[in-house]
Symmetry: D2
């Protein structure tokens, strides 16, 4: 249950109520008190402080349609997506920052194609310790250079709580990876950040749990969360994961959060990325991440799924046409 608090209720009163009901106070402009969803009605004490009471089905609360009927809009400088914008944000770049030369080539590709957001990982959540683990802080610095030099926005991933502050400092959109999405240390820090957060669904994560992870960020005070579907793990292993577009429809029906899609990780093989990317755009998705690398076969991570620049360049016009056919625009 969400209580929209009257503006004149004092912090002391709110804190007392929060403690009593094990509730979370979202302070500042929002000024909400979020109680466990199993509490289904406001007693007198709550009624007294409430401007409005919103009862929710489950612990999908701030992300629910009951709380906010439309879809949240994300503003990133002059870029807008989500909400009623009918914009699909294109995000492109290699899996990992590997060198200055490589990331600069990717940045130049983005600029030449009118893409405004560059993605690349610095802290790689690899499953084996015996593979490339990312450039770390050095990678963050290279991304910041690209931002300054080319006017691009940056999105990069936080892997665990030990470097969440650095990532928040350097990036424009904070990406929480599929393996880190239950990490309370990260989620709570992102709740205090004032930058958009792209939260990837864990490959073994239900839709309910996925949105509940977003609630950690939302209830921390950060209202800019983008949900990213990137494939779930199923019995089928001919492809790396299974892109759950049925789940995307559920997220759009039952939550107020914008949705991004990552067909590259889902497929795991570049031959399938163009077809899937067209499918994603035809759904009218809020953002799309495509991995592209100047020389995919030599990539230090995810070599098989990254498009070459040529492949990416020839895909883009097709995506634009599909976007237009459903009344959207790639930005």
């Amino acid at each position: 249950m969400i209580i929209r608090l009257k503006p004149d209720v004092t912090p002391e009163v709110i804190k007392t109520l929060a403690e009593k009901y094990r509730a979370i106070w979202v302070d500042g402009k929002q000024n909400l008190l979020v109680l466990p969803s199993k509490i289904k009605s406001a007693d007198a004490a709550l009624q007294q402080v409430a401007e409005k009471v919103i009862v929710t089905d489950s612990d999908i609360q701030l992300a629910s349609r009951e709380f906010m009927p439309g879809r949240r809009e994300i503003q990133l400088g002059d870029l807008r997506f989500g909400g009623d914008s009918r914009n699909t944000l294109m995000i492109a770049g290699p899996c990992s920052v590997e060198s200055e030369e490589q990331i600069e080539q990717a940045a130049q590709l983005c600029v030449s194609l009118g893409i405004r957001v560059l993605r690349a990982g610095c802290f790689k959540p690899r499953t084996s310790p015996y593979t490339f683990q990312g450039l770390g802080i050095e990678g963050l610095r290279l991304l910041a250079q690209m931002r300054e030099k080319y006017g691009l926005r940056i999105i990069t991933e936080v892997r665990d709580s030990t470097h969440v502050r650095e990532v928040i400092e350097y990036t424009d959109i904070i990406q929480i990876g599929a393996k880190a999405m239950y990490d309370h240390g990260i989620l709570r820090q992102c709740g205090k950040a004032d930058k958009p957060v792209l939260l990837k669904r864990g490959f073994g994560t239900t839709l309910q749990e996925f949105v509940q992870a977003a609630e950690f960020i939302l209830s921390g005070g950060n209202s800019q969360v983008i949900l990213c579907e990137r494939g779930i793990r199923t019995f089928e292993t001919k492809t790396r994961f299974t892109l759950d577009l049925c789940g995307v429809e559920w997220l759009r029906q039952y939550t107020n959060l914008p949705v991004a899609l990552d067909p590259s990780h889902a497929m795991g093989y570049r031959y399938g990325v163009p077809g899937l990317a067209r499918a994603c755009v035809a759904m009218g998705v809020d953002a799309l991440l495509i991995e592209t690398h100047p020389n995919p076969d030599a990539a230090l991570s995810d070599a098989e799924q990254q498009l070459s620049f040529e492949e990416f360049q020839s895909l883009l016009p097709a995506l634009k046409r599909v976007a237009e056919s459903v009344g959207y625009r790639l930005v």
Copy 2:
């Protein structure tokens, strides 16, 4: 391994070889001898009868790209799809034939929208014995009436081997349902039929097994098989199944069979069908099945996923625009 036989080899010789290698002879115009795929080279006896030898990776043989590099085309009267046609065949209708009035309304809807193929089930593979099991033969007769009266093509499902002959006799495209796709009794009968077969993927079936089921039909002599993805079962239960579009990309990369998609069964809820249908069309799929019913809430089966006629009518133009944007045409 597939041997394309020289035209002058006698049936006796072929039968002897077939027995020796546990191989299957696909006679008639095709005149092929298909050996287990673990046999990787042709010995002298095989070389002598071979016009051509095709070695395949796995028991995906007649369906493989090694055997036939393009995609098979299906001809259904004047309707063409698959191959290089860039046509997407629209198939619409209710889950089940429930009455003459209901199926006639669906037939009239198809006619009014230019849809040429009417679908509806007569033998329903329900999971409970205490629910509507379909009209059986009576349903087949009603479908045949619709064909005659409205010039529509019919697709309907065979549930088990006890009525496979009747379905083959009455229908234009034989549908093998997700729960029946391992049924050798059905597969072998369809192998001898001269009608296209739409084979649905079992919800627990790997892509490899799915195509191997098609091999039963292909090796029986029927070269017109359409693979239909209709959602697989995963840990996610907010939606009925998970539409595996990554798998579709794999099927198109590694097999020569046309691919159909059924977003209605995958989603299980009508709110998600339009978005998924657009996604399917944007991939450039060969056929699309959408469930629509004159009064979905009163439907005797799958009530939640069938579109009303109004919903279907408003979806169709959007699908046409998406198809055009990728260079396809809805037929």
Copy 3:
């Protein structure tokens, strides 16, 4: 809802009610009327014919604990298992009947170890048409010979409806395989048979659907159904399937049907079969199927998972000790 009918209600009255409520009449000694489970109370017409009314949660009805609080016992000549017998029936033999010599060796092994039920398949539901498909009727005849010669009971599998009558005629326990468990043609025939049916869970089948499949047999009049868990398909592919022992606990808590386990198919590799078999027995299971072959490496199907006779012989005493430790006896 299940109505236990008063003995004096006439067939005409019952048939009229059955039609009115889309209910199934289980006639004979049981004399039950089974209505769809969504009907939650008996109206006057039903009350009039009812000796007892049992309301069930879902379409698990005749298999439910509401209908029958304990576990059903199966009687097979002088062999008893299920119920309160605290017997675990051992079933052993090769995957397929391959030759008279091979099946005779297996029969002799059973006799020498005091095992009373011999298993082997004749109609193999292979996923590829290019592999060994079983000996068919000839295999059934060989199994019948073993029964006569060695006094063994026989269990063998029906693959599809085309040969269900032959299997029912020849076997002592009818096995319905994992891929055939939704086959209405088979389920309905087995409902009319007066032999125990071992129903295997499909590898993509939920527990709810699994028990509902048993309802087809039970509502057909055959009250002797054994549920067999044999592994479900999950994302893990290092083993062939995943034996769902959590599901076994659910089946024992919520149904009245005896439960058999097949660790051989679940594991897929012989190294894991002994450990899993011990685990199954420790649960106090009603029956256990183990695949064993005189020469596993030369087996025509499932070569990797069958134990050699030596391995099986050395496993058996361990299973007996585990059974005793939980108050059960291997029979």
Copy 4:
């Protein structure tokens, strides 16, 4: 590939080689150089420093049977398990530390039953922010009190990198939970700890990835890792998870790490825990975790799956008998 280094090779030489091959140096007594597994042979430079060269199939290296043929033994004071000990370590206690009274009752239960290791969580990785999150440091202090007062060993969970140091300091066995098992921040800290680590398998984690996560700890220098299977997520939702005992057999066949089992989390409902616990013990497992709470219905987390003290007490003798029947002893 693992190089067992000659004792006289200098750190400088080793570091140079490590950099050249992106290898990890496990220093100290072990003195190993672990190279990416795709390197399959040692060149001259490597040969020169190698006492022994071990080639491994995949990035399961230090955990592999190629590296160490038997199973590692864990020594915890006078407690021994794993290796050839044929001991099964019993670990019991509530899901969470909730209060001094509650944890003291659990400690007393352990003492009275001869159980030596007490488990309880302080940092709970809850999926919703609106539920009990654990007592944190205060909980660690209460656990430490129990150790002092009752001579028990403690196992408790680290949730994210922000408190890994505190957990390592307070606990005897460090538990890494299912949702934290990819967390490099935690894994690397545990690699430097000199306490045993119980690593739980993520519910969406393959066996390969699971063991690779252990490699992070092993290659950090900590050789005491216990793998804990606690249920994977499958399509079946009648039970909370699916305990993967087939996977356990694989782990025991292909790795050298001891294996623990947690049937409570897998099942999610207390009615199934006793049967599953017997199954686990019958496999001859190295450790077993059972959740038990003085008043399960009032538990602040996982209320449905915790056994009451009475249920736990009556289960224990059964487990002892099963252990004996397979030649093991509960410790």
